[in-house]
Each structure stands twice: as structure tokens, then as C-alpha cells.
């Protein structure tokens, strides 16, 4: 169980995440929506501990992970893997090596520096790629692959970490609709078949509705919505994407006029 308790994280005078409270059970698949800059990415980076919160605690199965350091911190990052919008693969290395880099946190240093991995791990990498229909690309350099292929390699790399949580930061924002479906389906499969807890940041409310049972909405660093997809009505979405947290001097009418930035396909999927 992931417990986020009054977590605040700021950079200079910008508060990325403000007093966030959140509890997520093992095996859940949770979507996070909100405007750009609403703190979605920061929240994931806080959980993986690329960022450290200034206030509050983050616990996983009772263990406090928000103040880990050194070796223990690295061990935690291995358990809470993260995939990125722009894949962040190493373009000059081949696909197999990229995937095997997922084991950097747990392999002895000397063989890894010379790109030596045991046969078993290489087999694991190939099989992981095969599950994502990518086994025929193992010797290609990732820079020559399409976005959808690169994101699947990133997923395979994440799986080689043998994680307990998969944090996906806008995994499909740079992909065309078909590749977006393939990648989202792969993430949903991982959640369903391996019981890995998934937190996924999404721009598309439509995708959030279809793949997640529970959705969290963020606005200006605060969690402003947390509930089942069925509660995600059009007005709730408008609230999440509202421009200002304070209604300022505008009347109720004016607030209603503020439309969500994303097209909402409620009618189709309601």
C-alpha cells in the first residue's frame, strides 16, 4: 500500500506539489489528470524519489521511503520504476542493452561496466521484449525506432527492474492513437497479470476513463479529485482543469464558461 501523507515539494518559489494526501492499494491502476504544470510529473518523481519532498512522508507497505538515502534509496528506485513521455532511452546503444540497463541497480559493477550480462538475464530481456512484440529488434539502435517501439523498449527496461510500482509519466502523449493504444494495453496487461501497482499521468481523459478504475485530478499542485471513473463527470473534469484555484472576482457564470482544455468524449464512453 502506497501512502502519501501531506507531501509538499517546491523549487524556489514554485510549489510543484502542495500538501498531497493519497492512499493507493497494491495492484491498483490509477490515472492522474490535470493541466500541464499541475504537479503530476512531480508527484511521480517524488514517489520514485528523483525528487525529495520538503514536507510530509511517503510510505510503501509501511516503510517510509521519503527520507531514504544512498544504497537504500537506490534499492527503492529499483522497486518503483518510472517510464517517461520521451522514453529517455540511450539512443546509441542497441535495444537489448537498453533493456538490460534496467538491472543496473542490482548487478555487480565490474561485468556491467563491460556490458556483460548473464545468459539468464539476456533471455529474460528477450522474453520481455517478445511479450511486447519487439523481439525482432534486439540488435537495432533505439534511435532508429519509432516512438511506439521506443516506449515499449522503455517498458521492457522498466520490467527488468522487477518493480512493485510502475510510474508512467505521460507515456502516450507523444504517440499516435494506435501506438498509444498498444502502449496503454501493455501497461494494463502488466497491471493485470503481474499485480504491479500502476500510476499513470495522462493528458487524455478519454484514455484515463477506459484504462483506469480510479482517477486522481491535480490542479496547481493540489489533489482536487480522487474517485472512481464513474464520478468523473464533465463538471468534475472542468473543475480539475479550471484555470484558477480561487474563483477570484468572477461570478458563478464566468466559472462555468471556463472549458476544459481537452475534448471530453463523455457521450461515447458514458
Amino acid at each position: 500500500m502506497l501512502e502519501i501523507d501531506k507531501v509538499t515539494c517546491s523549487f524556489g518559489d514554485v510549489t510543484a506539489v502542495k500538501q498531497a494526501n493519497l492512499t493507493i492499494q497494491r495492484g491498483e491502476m490509477v490515472g492522474i489528470i490535470g493541466r500541464s504544470g499541475s504537479g503530476k510529473s512531480s508527484l511521480l518523481r517524488l514517489i520514485n524519489r528523483l525528487y525529495t519532498p520538503q514536507e510530509g512522508t511517503i510510505r510503501w507497505d509501511g516503510q517510509t521511503v521519503s527520507d531514504l538515502k544512498g544504497r537504500e534509496l537506490r534499492a527503492w528506485r529499483q522497486r518503483a520504476t518510472i517510464i517517461f513521455q520521451d522514453y529517455n532511452l540511450i539512443p546509441r546503444l542497441d535495444v537489448l542493452t537498453n533493456v538490460l540497463l534496467g538491472t543496473l541497480g542490482r548487478r555487480p559493477l565490474a561485468p556491467v561496466m563491460f556490458k556483460q550480462w548473464p545468459k539468464e538475464l539476456r533471455a529474460q530481456a528477450v522474453l520481455e521484449l517478445d511479450r511486447l512484440s519487439m523481439a525482432d529488434t534486439v540488435f537495432k539502435r533505439t534511435q532508429f525506432l519509432s516512438g511506439g517501439q521506443q516506449q515499449r523498449i522503455a517498458i521492457a527496461r522498466a520490467m527488468l527492474q522487477e518493480p512493485e510500482i510502475l510510474l508512467a509519466d505521460e507515456p502516450v502523449a507523444s504517440l499516435d492513437p494506435i501506438n498509444a493504444e498498444i502502449v496503454m494495453q501493455s501497461i494494463a496487461d502488466i497491471n493485470a497479470s503481474r499485480g504491479i501497482t500502476v500510476l499513470v499521468n495522462l493528458h487524455s481523459i478519454d484514455i484515463a476513463r477506459r484504462y483506469c478504475r480510479r482517477v486522481i485530478g491535480m490542479n496547481r499542485g493540489s489533489i482536487v479529485f480522487d474517485g472512481p471513473v464513474s464520478d468523473l463527470t464533465e463538471s468534475a473534469v472542468a473543475e480539475i482543469y479550471r484555470k484558477r484555484t480561487q474563483p477570484c472576482e468572477c461570478s458563478g457564470d464566468a466559472v462555468a464558461q471556463v472549458q476544459p482544455v481537452m475534448p471530453v468524449a463523455t457521450a461515447v464512453y458514458a
Binding site: L96, K119, E120, R122, A123, A125, V126, L127, D136
Partner: protein, 274 residues
């Protein structure tokens, strides 16, 4: 499923991924052996023996001993002037190099000059002149122009023109084509694409290279001074010839300070400019 079966399954999916072909490993070892042979050959060719090395280090120790304590020999003012002269040689040489390299760099960039013949010829000529090191230019120019800072400036300028031009050309070529496309799509003439699509990308890189060359040329200016182009190198050479190693040590320390100040200054400038 047993481990072996898993390995075989993975190998079937991606042949060569699990059971690395023997040729790959042979290639690695052949490469290593080739390097070992070249290394040993170079060692033998230069007749490096331990006694030669040990003797050299012994002498070096004696010289280091005579360096303490360093002294200015009562000529601090003269030495500071010499360092200032060396700096002036470096600055003027670098300016000469930049001025000469700008047009050549433009001609050498494939995305600026579409005619492949022009940039092929420009690049080959630059390749030839890049083969002449600054010290050779200095020796030739001292013989031609006479002793003094002028041949030093010219030597640094001539040596760096082809080098900087190549770097400028590459900075221009590395400009992202998509940014240029977006301007071309507005109906901009070529000069507009160059001004706003290429220059903003290339200029910080070029400026940074100019500053780096200035730092390098401060060192080069000291070296060309030794062969008669004035400045601190000339003073250094004089004192080495009369074995005044305590004064040599003083000059070296003074020079290290000057180099550090220049490096810090150009580093500060670089973060401001880029």
C-alpha cells in the same frame, strides 16, 4: 520450464542474443592483441629502458631542487609586461583567426552553400593548412618578419583560421533543420533563414569555441615566444639558457596564475553568452 529451455526459447526469438557468436569474442581479443603489439613496437622503437627513464627523473629532481625558492630576480615589472604582451598576442591572434575563419566557415557548411564543389574545395584546403602547427608557422614567420610579437600574432592567426573555420562550419551544419524549415515555410528568403534559423543555434557554440581558443592561444603565445615571438616565452627561454631555474619557477608560477585568471574570466563570460 527449465532454465535451458528458457534460454533456447529466447535464442530462437532473437538469434545471437543469448549464445553470443564466437566470432564476436575473437574480434575483441584480436583488437586487444593488436593494441598490445603496437604499444610494444612503439616502446622498442623509442628504445625506452628503465635506466633512461630513471636517469631522466633523477635530473628532473635536481632541477626541481634548484627551483626553490622561486625569485623574480628583481624584474617583476618587466615580467608582468611580458605576460601582458603574451596576452595581447593571444587576443590579437584569436581575433585574426576569427575574422579569417568566419567567411571560410560559412563556405564550408553544407547547409549554407548548396554547391558541393565549393565546400569540398574549401574543406580540402583547410585540411591541408590545418596540418601546419602553430610552432611551425612561428618558426617560418620569425625567419620572414623578424623577432617580435608580430610573427607571434600572425602564427596564431594562421594556425587557427582553418581549425576555427572547420568548427564554425560544423556548428552551422549541426543547426536543427526543422527550425530552418519552419522559417522557410513562412516564405522567408535564404538570408532570413540564415539569420534567424541558423545563427541563433550556431552563435553560442561559435562564441564558446572562440573563448576556448583564446584560452588555448594564451598557452600557444607563450610557446611561440620561446622561438622569438616575444612575451613571457622569450623571458622564460632566456632564463632556461642560463640555468636560472629559480627565476624560471617564478615565471611559471606567475604564468599559472595568469592562465587561471583568464580561464575563470572566459568561463564566466561563456555562461553569460551561451
Amino acid at each position: 520450464m527449465s532454465d535451458l529451455a528458457l534460454l533456447q526459447q529466447a535464442e530462437a526469438l532473437a538469434p545471437g542474443a543469448i549464445f553470443t557468436p564466437i566470432t564476436n569474442r575473437v574480434k575483441f581479443w584480436l583488437g586487444l592483441i593488436a593494441f598490445a603489439i603496437v604499444f610494444t613496437a612503439a616502446w622498442i622503437d623509442l628504445e625506452l629502458t628503465y635506466s633512461v627513464l630513471a636517469g631522466g627523473f633523477g635530473k628532473l629532481g635536481q632541477i626541481l631542487g634548484t627551483m626553490v625558492p622561486p625569485t623574480s630576480g628583481g624584474q617583476l615589472e618587466r615580467l608582468l609586461w611580458a605576460i601582458a604582451q603574451t596576452l595581447a598576442i593571444a587576443v590579437l591572434g584569436t581575433v585574426l583567426a576569427v575574422v579569417g575563419a568566419l567567411p571560410l566557415g560559412l563556405l564550408a557548411a553544407r547547409n549554407i552553400v548548396p554547391n558541393p564543389m565549393i565546400h569540398f574545395i574549401v574543406r580540402r584546403i583547410m585540411d591541408i593548412f590545418r596540418g601546419i602547427p602553430v610552432l611551425v608557422w612561428a618558426l617560418i614567420l620569425v625567419a620572414a618578419v623578424g623577432l617580435g610579437p608580430i610573427p607571434g600574432i600572425l602564427a596564431i592567426g594562421f594556425a587557427d583560421i582553418p581549425r576555427l573555420a572547420k568548427l564554425f562550419g560544423e556548428a552551422l551544419e549541426n543547426a536543427d533543420e526543422r527550425q530552418r524549415d519552419s522559417l522557410r515555410a513562412t516564405g522567408s528568403p535564404d538570408i532570413g533563414v540564415l539569420r534567424f534559423g541558423t545563427l541563433p543555434q550556431a552563435l553560442p557554440v561559435c562564441l564558446s569555441q572562440c573563448l576556448y581558443y583564446l584560452e588555448q592561444n594564451f598557452r600557444s603565445a607563450a610557446i611561440v615566444g620561446v622561438v622569438g615571438a616575444g612575451g613571457i616565452g622569450f623571458e622564460l627561454d632566456e632564463r632556461i639558457r642560463i640555468f636560472a631555474f629559480d627565476e624560471v619557477a617564478f615565471i611559471v608560477l606567475l604564468y599559472i596564475v595568469a592562465v587561471t585568471v583568464l580561464d575563470l574570466g572566459s568561463q564566466w563570460l561563456r555562461t553569460r553568452l551561451t
